[in-house]
Subunit: 475 residues, 2 copies
């Protein structure tokens, strides 16, 4: 069912108050990766918990223990668990967000102080660290609940919240908590579907639902020879040089059109049929959009479907760099003794790090054997995460589509993201239910970048979207 008209009107009427609350949130520099800011992350947890309680949410601050960071022991910020309703006749929806942010310094190139929200009336932008990632969306949920609480309206669903303070630092401690609370009697027991608002539209125009994320498998290939770095004058052409072997191996992993040259890896993924291609054709995203965001005319193809499938539904391999070689400016004539090439593969279903690793490792070992080198080789899989794809015809998605239609008067782009949001997989795996990614912000919000913003339009209409979603999913 659609959200009540009074709700929609209330959100418009209260817009300035909502922006003030966002401003209060941005003012707390809850940078999770900075040890000196840890107390601010904890302060942010307490502030948010109070906001939730003020709109009728039962909250629990869950301690996650300690963390070792930069040589000191620090308390992890608590996770906020929230609850409204326990009606057996209603669906139970879990919403996730995070209240920690990326680091930001004025000196990084911000035009204004990152932790003072600037309400730029000329552009309609609300500028500040966390405005879009992810304080805006989290406060969107609070905005929705405020109308219900002030007007004593029952929610159409049972609501569960999970708001964490370590998302930008690997969500330390969250997996265990989700697994624990997903069990019978746990905080998430009985959850029917999950909604996460922590990503972005493809562009600046069209709302989106995201139903897939790529996984990752990160590799380090180390070739070592001499006991120490050597002088190329004295040793050039007398010994096997590790760089020569490493560069050879790295040159055999991917071609410059993005085809992965490791046998078996591409074969794991099915070919897109015409039906699937139509999804990409339908997206409001052009080659020009890709090239604008890359800042140069360097798209791999002039075929939009091919480029979008390259990002969303095909695996990719990128060469990141070399550790141990000369990387400074200038001209050093060194033969590096030990060099480690770094590369990673973005995975799509049914690939997993475990299924890809053997192909990668044995291929590189064979390549190296063929070199007949006297250097030594080590291939390591450093870390990885599975890809995720949800059924975008599930009622959870249908609800999000209807909510998008009623809010924006258009259908959302159905997107898959090239990167990963690991917590998505944690919820999908632990709860065994459908997860929808329902973004609030636009593709140019600059999360993790300087001058992060959320448009006032997206913050206010996005609040309506989240509220409408709760009504549409309730049916």
């Amino acid at each position: 069912m659609p959200a009540p008209q009074e709700f929609i009107k209330y959100i418009d009427d209260k817009a300035d108050a909502f922006i003030q609350r966002l401003s209060d949130a941005v003012a707390i520099p809850s940078v999770s990766s900075d040890a000196s800011r840890r107390q601010d992350v904890i302060k942010m947890a307490n502030w948010l918990s109070e906001q939730l309680q003020a709109v009728g949410v039962t909250t629990q601050l869950t301690d996650l223990g300690k963390q070792q960071i930069e040589g000191q022991e620090l308390p992890l910020p608590p996770v906020i668990l929230g609850k409204i309703g326990n009606d057996k006749n209603k669906k139970t929806i879990l919403v996730y967000g995070h209240f920690d942010v990326q680091p930001a310094f004025k000196s990084d190139g911000w035009d204004t102080d990152p932790f003072t929200l600037v309400n730029d009336k000329a552009t309609g932008r609300l500028i500040g660290r966390g405005a879009s990632d992810d304080k805006g969306p989290v406060l969107g949920w609070v905005n929705v609940l405020q109308w219900h609480h002030e007007n004593k309206k029952e929610l159409p669903v049972n609501l569960r919240c999970c708001f964490e303070g370590m998302e930008e630092s690997g969500s330390e401690g969250l997996d265990d908590l989700v697994a624990r609370e997903s069990k019978p009697g746990g905080w998430f027991d009985g959850v029917d579907a999950v909604c996460i608002s922590d990503n972005y539209w493809l562009n600046t125009r069209t709302p989106a639902l995201t139903y897939g994320l790529r996984g990752l498998s990160y590799y380090r290939v180390t070739v070592s020879g001499p006991a120490r770095d050597l002088h190329s004058g004295v040793f050039g052409r007398t010994v096997y040089e590790p760089m020569t072997d490493l560069i050879y191996i790295m040159s055999k992993l991917v071609d410059n059109r993005g085809h992965i040259l490791i046998p078996g890896v591409e074969d794991q993924v099915g070919i897109a049929d015409e039906e699937e291609k139509k999804i990409y054709q339908a997206l409001d995203y052009s080659i020009q959009d890709v090239e604008e965001s890359a800042g140069a005319p360097i798209a791999l193809s002039s075929d939009k479907v091919e480029v979008l499938m390259g990002r969303m539904r095909n695996p990719s391999l990128s060469l990141h760099g070399i550790e141990g070689a000369f990387s400074g400016v200038g001209a050093k004539t060194v033969i590096p003794a030990k060099v480690s090439g770094k590369f990673s593969i973005r995975l799509v279903p049914p690939q997993t790090p475990e299924s890809v690793d053997p192909f990668v490792i044995s291929y590189i070992e064979e390549l190296f054997k063929g070199l007949n080198s006297k250097s030594k080789l080590e291939v390591e899989s450093l870390h990885g995460g599975k890809p995720w794809v949800a059924d975008h015809n599930h009622w959870n998605y249908e609800a999000a589509k209807r909510a998008t239609w009623s809010t924006y008067n258009r259908l959302p782009d159905l997107t898959r993201e090239g990167g990963s949001i690991p917590v998505t997989l944690t919820f999908a795996d632990c709860l065994g239910v459908n997860v929808v990614l329902l973004p609030m912000g636009r593709g140019d919000d600059g999360a993790h970048s300087t001058n992060e913003k959320i448009d006032r339009f997206n913050f206010i209409e996005g609040t309506k979207l989240l509220g409408s979603y709760l009504y549409e999913v309730a049916v």
Copy 2:
């Protein structure tokens, strides 16, 4: 003619005084690359000039002007020009050395204070920064002259000296001075041959004469694409990645046996005939020596002649590293926007940077063209220096061979070095005369390294060698 017996005996008798003088020299930390040590380099110049005057040399401290270093203007240390004799019936010999040293801190891993000469009686080593590079050899000449001065013996040759204080920092200002003083009426006018004692035996056993040095041509290949670094999740397989193209290019430059794959480059160099190979076969240097100094069993061949020719008479290409790519520890999922591969080619006659550059640049441009990439390529030759080979049958070398025989009772190894000593070329070019490199120290002296030493044996016998050379070359 052989050196007088009284001279030989005098050197043995005065050994402890000579070592004391070396100790005084080492105590002045004349580090030319360290702005805060510049006054010590100048102090060293004055000290050495006084030592030379005390043994009868007419000296002139030549001002080289100023230098910009670390944002400040510093006076360059003066070059010491020295002169004894102007007899038209004698040959005129120019000797070169340097009185500046490499940086050294106890914390680098020295067992003792680098600027306090340690006379280790147990091992016979004189340990301290500059002991072997190049204060020991420079004082060797002073020792020789001391006998002549104290005993009012005329030198068998006219002597010219050139001792500089910026060798470890690119010999700034020296080329111009040598060119100027080589002209008619200049300090070096009339020089018949040059002797430089500033390198090392191949090993710890056999004296050496060095008649060749490799040159160098250093390249930077830059591939650039996006306007900024990109996230591999979002952009992997949607755009041309500069690293993929750069790694491909770098993989096509050299194979892991050291063969240079750039057409034309190897062809410039003639093949060694049996005569030439015999020189390398005769050297007192084994595969084991190469692998011991590299610290691992990684020699390119089990054929000693092949390995030594790889170092001494063939060009080599080494890949040094990449600027702009991820080079830290850990796992960063970046697509670097602009990456610069660094490599260099060691050159041998008749190669010059100018003759090699066109092959290198056009080959890389062709390779890149074949990639049909949308990235941009730039190939730059950063700097270079010509190789040098002298006629080792010249009377200058014959004199050095006889001096070696009379001092050590064996013939020297006839070596070519893989690295470069640019001043050699400066003298050879400006004066148009034969230059001999007549090393005093051993291959394990650790010049530029921690615990630099010269063996007492080499310092004392080396002094006799330098003296004997002046007599043998006089004939």
